[in-house]
């Protein structure tokens, strides 16, 4: 297989079980190269597990994954092609950013320390102090600089902004965007909040209740979802070709969030576009309901 043409990520039925619990189940997606993908899902949906499977830190219990055309494995070729920033940005606390950059130079064949140092200098982050003395935002920037210095083809970031204040989040995203624009690399960023990622991502993977709920281009996702508002009607009166993601009813109105491929023609519906955040939240609620073993019937019969 031509490695250059292989998708950034391709999984079939990927699953990971811890004891009797599936942290991730039946996960099948394909993400082309060159995208910035938001990996979104509630806490415990399996985002961290998925990223660990993709970088080879975990072995799958079911199915398989291919990253850049390779099975994630402990080989120097594979490790050189990926950049991974784990949750909470683990760094050697007593070492400085300079120390980390020197260590990276010894551990990686291809290492761009000067660009990393220039980035940190531009952000006025002291590179000679132990990283434990830096703020959370500065540490995240050091972590990002380190993975970028590896010059990976695919960058996987696990909730890199979870501990950051809004200003630091914005700076981090600006750094990430600039780096992506320069290098043309593929990125997957996980977050339990979509809000942060909406501006920088063009692709979305939605993970809820350990399963894929949605995977695709953000523009397509937006085009496929609509809110329908109309007079109250019974459940069996809703057209079967509409995939209902979320339904709420009042005594007079039925309000649906649906997934459609063709335009909705029924004139009794008032059709409006939906924001990405509402779509994601609707799927997450549905995912939680699915986890309890039942389909959602929000407000039904009220």
């Amino acid at each position: 297989m031509n490695l250059q043409a292989a998708p950034a990520i391709h999984t079939t039925g990927l699953g990971k079980r811890y004891g009797s619990n599936w942290a991730l189940q039946d996960f099948s997606v394909s993400v082309p190269r060159g995208h910035v993908t938001a990996l979104v899902g509630p806490n415990g949906a399996g985002k961290t597990t998925l990223l660990k499977l993709l970088v080879g830190l975990c072995a799958p219990s079911a199915g398989e994954a291919e990253v850049l055309g390779r099975v994630p494995e402990q080989s120097e070729e594979f490790l050189a092609s990926i950049g991974y920033l784990a949750q909470d940005v683990p760094l050697y606390k007593r070492l400085s950013a300079d120390d980390h950059l020197r260590i990276g130079a010894h551990l990686n064949r291809d290492w761009d320390a000067s660009a990393a140092r220039a980035r940190l200098t531009a952000l006025r982050i002291p590179t000679n102090r132990p990283v434990a003395t830096l703020s959370g935002g500065q540490r995240a920037q050091v972590g990002l600089s380190l993975v970028l210095a590896k010059r990976p083809q695919l960058l996987l970031l696990d909730e890199p902004m979870a501990a950051l204040d809004p200003l630091a989040r914005r700076e981090f995203l600006a750094s990430l965007t600039a780096a992506v624009a320069d290098e043309g690399l593929s990125v997957v960023v996980s977050s339990h909040l979509l809000h942060d990622l909406e501006r920088v991502c063009d692709h979305l993977i939605l993970l809820a209740a350990s399963r894929t709920q949605l995977c695709g281009d953000i523009d397509e996702v937006l085009a496929e979802h609509r809110t329908l508002v109309g007079p109250r009607r019974a459940w069996n009166e809703i057209e079967p070709r509409l995939t209902v993601i979320k339904a709420t009813q009042t005594t007079r109105q039925t309000r649906l969030l649906v997934r459609v491929e063709d335009p909705v023609l029924d004139p009794s519906w008032e059709v409006t576009e939906v924001g990405l955040e509402d779509i994601v939240l609707a799927y997450m609620e549905q995912g939680e309901a699915l986890a309890d073993g039942q389909l959602i019937e929000l407000g039904h019969g009220q």
Binding site: L57, C58, I82, P90, I103
Partner: protein
């Protein structure tokens, strides 16, 4: 990898070197050859291997797991296998060198010091002279690394390493070592009793009275180096076993 090991652990190495200098200076500068304080210090070196096992062995990988830095190290351009190999080589080498240095000082000192030199096959003096302290140090560090890779938290790993190392040492010293070679039995007259024991011999059991005679069972002093060799071999084999366990825990197990 060598640079990473040096950068992460150089303070420990420098501290160890400092302690060694202090110990040597103490033995050299205190002139009395009949100084109980110095003898006590020499006996304290029996805990050197276990300290190495705890602070160089158990904490080495457990600290990485505890801080999550294994996720950082294992996604750089080196494989886990190579990462572990460097950790093992440098930790074991450092332990061997340091253990050997301490032992060399103690052995040299106890050759001058009659009391320690004479009874060197007996438990105690045997354990702090010759080559076995190096083997103990190597085993302790390998054991600590293996336990740390399994338990992955610093304090529990240290506690387990301590318990396991002491158990192995005691079992081998008390139950196995007396049988490394067939002991010598000799009947001597009641009047002579243990006075008939050859110089430096290791008396294995209490003298038993057999009629008008006393039975002495012992290991002769000239078996010192044979026993050192056998005991070293035993601990090198044990160290190899725990190293294999560490490989399994790092390469085959999830991060």
């Amino acid at each position: 990898m060598t640079y990473l090991m040096w950068r992460l652990h150089r303070n420990q190495l420098l501290t160890a070197a400092g302690v060694l200098v202090i110990l040597t200076t103490a033995l050299l500068t205190i002139p009395s050859k009949d100084n109980h304080v110095i003898e006590a210090i020499v006996y304290v070196t029996i805990v050197v291997p276990i300290l190495l096992g705890l602070f160089w062995g158990a904490s080495l990988l457990a600290k990485e797991f505890e801080d999550g830095t294994n996720g950082l190290a294992w996604t750089q351009g080196v494989t886990r296998r190579r990462w572990l190999r460097s950790n093992l080589i440098w930790a074991i080498l450092a332990a061997a060198v340091w253990g050997a240095a301490v032992t060399a000082v103690v052995t040299w000192w106890s050759l001058c010091e009659i009391s320690l030199g004479l009874a060197r096959l007996s438990p105690g003096p045997f354990d702090i002279q010759g080559i076995v302290p190096v083997a103990y140090s190597v085993f302790a560090v390998a054991l600590g690394i293996a336990v740390g890779s399994m338990i992955r938290r610093v304090l529990p790993a240290m506690a387990t390493t301590l318990a396991a190392f002491v158990a192995v040492r005691v079992v081998i010293a008390v139950l196995v070592r007396p049988h490394f070679m067939s002991p010598v039995s000799r009947l001597v007259s009641l009047a002579q009793g243990t006075n008939a024991l050859p110089a430096g011999a290791w008396l294995l059991s209490n003298p038993a009275n057999v009629g008008p005679k006393t039975l002495l069972t012992y290991q002769p002093a000239d078996r010192f180096w044979a026993f050192q060799g056998i005991e070293t071999g035993v601990f090198v084999v044990l160290a190899t076993g725990v190293v294999a366990l560490a490989y399994r825990m790092v390469v085959a197990r999830d991060a």
